[in-house]
Amino acid sequence: MSFLINALKNFLHRMFQVLSLGKKTITNSLSIYVKHIGGRTLAVELDPTWDIKNLKEVVAPKLGLEPNEVKIIFAGKELGDEIKIEECDLGQKSVLHAVKIAKKTKLPQLNDGSFIEENEDLNSSKPLSETLDDSMFSHEDSSSSSAIIDKENSQSEASTSKSKVHFYVFCPTCKEMKSGKIRVRCHFCKSGAFTVHSEPQNWHDVLITKQITGTCENSPESCANVLSNREPTFAEFYFKCSEHTSLGEEDGAVPLDLIRPNLRDVPCLACADVCDPVLVFPCTEGHVTCLDCFRQYCITRLTERQFWQHPELGYTLACPAGCPDSFIKEVHHFRLLSEAQYAQYQRFGTEEFVLRSGGVLCPQPGCGMGILVDPGCNKVACINGCGYVFCRLCLQGYHIGDCRPADYDSNSNSEGCLYNVDPGRALEARWDEASRVTIKSSTKPCPKCRTPTERDGGCMHMVCTRAGCKFEWCWVCQTPWTRDCMGSHWFG
């Protein structure tokens, strides 16, 4: 008797919960979308304290199904009935996927059903945000053996202090580094109705494609690979910003995999403070800097134009401790710079790219347009820029015949500065011309890349400071540095 009453009570309580939905949402609601495989998308208001079972009871009738015929998929996991909504790492306007459970599994309830339940008990019904922890993602994922050790470590640590996973992303909407959330979709059809067969264990699993297999719940017509089954269905991981309301499934963010929580209280390489989060360089030592020092490092290198134009990675930096093979692969890390600094980074990167590709930069002050020129042609016109026509070799106004040698000696000898101003150019910006004279009289161009170079002391042996050039030349001869230079005018 009491059992019946209890059951009734329970039922009424639940009904009440469902009915009082409208009232509850006013105080503390989460508005999300539930996408059904048939194509319908429902907008649902949720109370974060609900569990998935409550959600199914709300959603199923709207889809014309019974609550136990529906499974809810989120971030690569089928969520178990007892999971609380607030545990799921959901944000406003997040999208959940509702899938009708295939009938096959329903019939042999005794065998198959119990098996599935057992399987689900092993964490698989919990959302990814609950099962992943930081220790997995705090190591370089070089060898599998270390990954196993990591796993053991994380398990022993787990009992004492298991910290939920932290991801950092660059969010294009917020234009800042934000904390991020990991999401999963089908590699082929990009559908979010996708469950992973195993969880990612490290950054390698997440960033490299086709590492983790899963089941795509999308209808066969939509996911061709389910239909033809030529390849196992792979999971694709992507990231979202966790700080602004989701703008839909396209609203991704770039994972900044080098930025990690400072689990071991490693002091910063530069300032020796213990900060959190930190940037861990991709060198074997895993050198750590705090984010302020990372910015300072970037600014210092950027001002000196010492970023490296890497053929595959782009304009990037290596570990400040000078470790080999430590280039930052994800250049979005440089988004930690201010907008103005990042714009400078982009400009320098573009210029270096142009120079590396054999192009030239327009020498007109204030222009600097990158121009790719045919190898044999020395007459260059700045077509989409300022229109200046110049000689590719000496970067002076275009001329017929040999380039006029720069008259440095007359400049340094005479106080009056006998620089000859081309009459036509004299009419142009005087201020720029003045600074050009200063640059010309105090610098000489690197014989290889023509970067104006100033000598502020020391010997005549010059090494071009432009990253990637490093040409060794003689200040006196303006030719490559030779033994003769060393013998006759090394020190002047």
Binding site: A270, C271, D273, C293, R301, P320
Partner: protein, 199 residues
Amino acid sequence: MANIAAQRIKREFKEVIKSEEVAKCAIKLELLNDSYTELKGEIAGPPDTPYEGGNFVLEIRVPETYPFNPPKVRFITKIWHPNISSVTGAICLDILKDQWAAAMTLRTVLLSLQALLSAAEPDDPQDAVVARQYKENLEMFKLTAKHWTNVYAGGPFVNSDCDDKIKRLIDMGIEEHQARVALSSYNWVLERATEQLFS
């Protein structure tokens, strides 16, 4: 000055003060201003070198971009060494140039300079005259370096022959240091030094 540089120097200063090298009097570091941009370093000449017994004072300037750029270091004490300019005290050492890494500290710089005193690299010289002497007449180089250490760094080895020759030039109206440079450069041959000074 950027806060990072000052903060870092503050820590490094403590590191040096507490180090065992300071306890053994091998290196010394002093702050010259409150903003941690200028320091005075001192290193002891390593044993079994011509610099033994001498104390060499260094000027250390910390750039705003420290530790991402190296500190600017120069010898204040005059020294006869292939990698250090006998005129300006400028140092030719890779870690003070392109081989600098942010993980290095003032302590490692001072120790590296001490190591440079025990092992010169004449093939990558800062002072061509000294380097040539080092390669062509090592004994003469050692004698000269010892003499300079005695005169400028308080080293114990007095060389009366050198002192006499310098005195002869001083009597001719030549300034003492100028006389020493000329004699050092011409392997202490008085005639050649005189010739060069009066040519």
